[in-house]
Amino acid sequence: MKKRSWSFVMMALFGAMAIGGCTKDPTEELTQEESRIYITNRDENANFANYKTFSVVDSVAVIEDGRLTAREVTNVDLAFIAAVRTQLQQRGFTEVARDANPDLGVNVNRVYNTSTGIIGYPNYWDLYGGFWDPFYWGYPGFGYSFPFYSYGVYNITEGAISIDIVALKGATDNKLQGVWTGLIRGQGVFSAQTAGSQVEALFAQSPYLQTQ
């Protein structure tokens, strides 16, 4: 095949690559607010009209990979606790002290999950474009040989806010029944500035959560 024909083929390939490389990444098209998802669940048998008072925790439980590791009170934690208090009060519930027999108890948690991956790099040293050519060391024509497998390890940690409401009123059988749970996942969750709007979004999709 003539050089000119190969030139056409290569130009066509590069053109195709340019068009094919324009794949949209949906995650890059989202603002931080759009990246967040709000998940709520409820006990279908719970009648929230039966509950009048509540008490919120004074600190946030930090749960990492399924284990409670700390209780903390950062500015972000305080913002979420205050937002939950505001939302429940707006729905007719009255906050009382923890030792005043509240009908509902509210837990606020920061949840972290870490996933680990391993990437293998077999024979990457053969790609001289990204590795020193043995010629540099005075050994032209030599190749590299490593007696072990090359790999890299990466960790991805995702954080979320979870809010659990448990029924203290009428608790039996040594169990505190969960009646509502809310979870916020995505980007920019741990923000004192947006804590109020995030908690508001959780409660907005739970119109049943009111005392009358």
């Binding site: 003539k2 083929v9 390939l13 794949t23 949906p26 967040r36 709000y38 996942r185 995505g186």
Partner: protein, 205 residues
């Protein structure tokens, strides 16, 4: 990225096939293509037009009217929906839903040229083969989806305008319909139609 490399490797393979055949009857056609979902694909998933696509083929001219060969292509479909509440047995989820779908057909093709040698040469064609599909649905940044290999059929019609009389290089302009079955939830196909424009040139010594 893996999906795009597969398509480019297939186009490169078409180039190596050229070396083996009688090259003065061999032509390559590459087009920019714009495709729009129809039917179930449009109703259940994406109704935005894809402006990110191409198709390419290498055809061997058995005679001036009939050519056969291989074809491929790529289309990227994307849609973002406003935040909405989705109810499921797992609870209520408020999220911004996004859909991203890529198709790479790998086809055996045939074309019929109605007026070889003319200034305007209308043609029709049909490609049948497989289809590499990557389909992802996002709720926020949380993705679920699948990749699969399915069936594809692609009838087409268009015109070829040679740069010079009797020449085998020139412009191509046409339209096609892609039949692409695909099962994912309530989605049962990725059918779409499109228009394309590009160049055809001979591969010869």
């Amino acid at each position: 990225m893996k999906v795009q490399i597969t398509s480019l490797l297939f186009v490169a393979l078409l180039g190596t096939v050229a070396v083996q055949a009688q090259q003065d009857r061999l032509t390559m056609n590459i087009n920019y293509s714009v495709n729009t979902p129809i039917g179930n694909f449009k109703e259940e998933s994406v109704n935005n037009t894809s402006w990110r696509g191409f198709n390419a083929s290498i055809m061997y001219h058995i005679n001036p009217k009939i050519s056969v060969g291989f074809g491929t292509g790529f289309n990227d479909f994307y849609q973002k929906y406003p935040r909405a509440l989705y109810s499921s047995p797992e609870g209520d989820i408020s999220a911004v839903r996004s859909i991203s779908a890529q198709t790479i057909p790998l086809l055996v093709k045939g074309r019929y040229n109605f007026a070889p040698g003319a200034g305007l040469q209308p043609f029709v064609g049909l490609g049948v083969g497989g289809n590499i599909i990557t389909y992802d649905e996002y709720l926020g940044v949380i993705a679920n989806g699948e990749s699969s290999f399915g069936f594809a059929a692609q009838p087409e019609a268009g015109i070829f305008v040679p740069f010079r009389k009797e020449g085998s290089a020139g412009f191509t302009l046409g339209a096609n319909f892609s039949y692409m079955p695909f099962d994912y939830g309530s989605l049962n196909n990725l059918n779409n139609w499109g228009v394309f424009a590009g160049f055809k040139f001979p591969l010869r010594d």
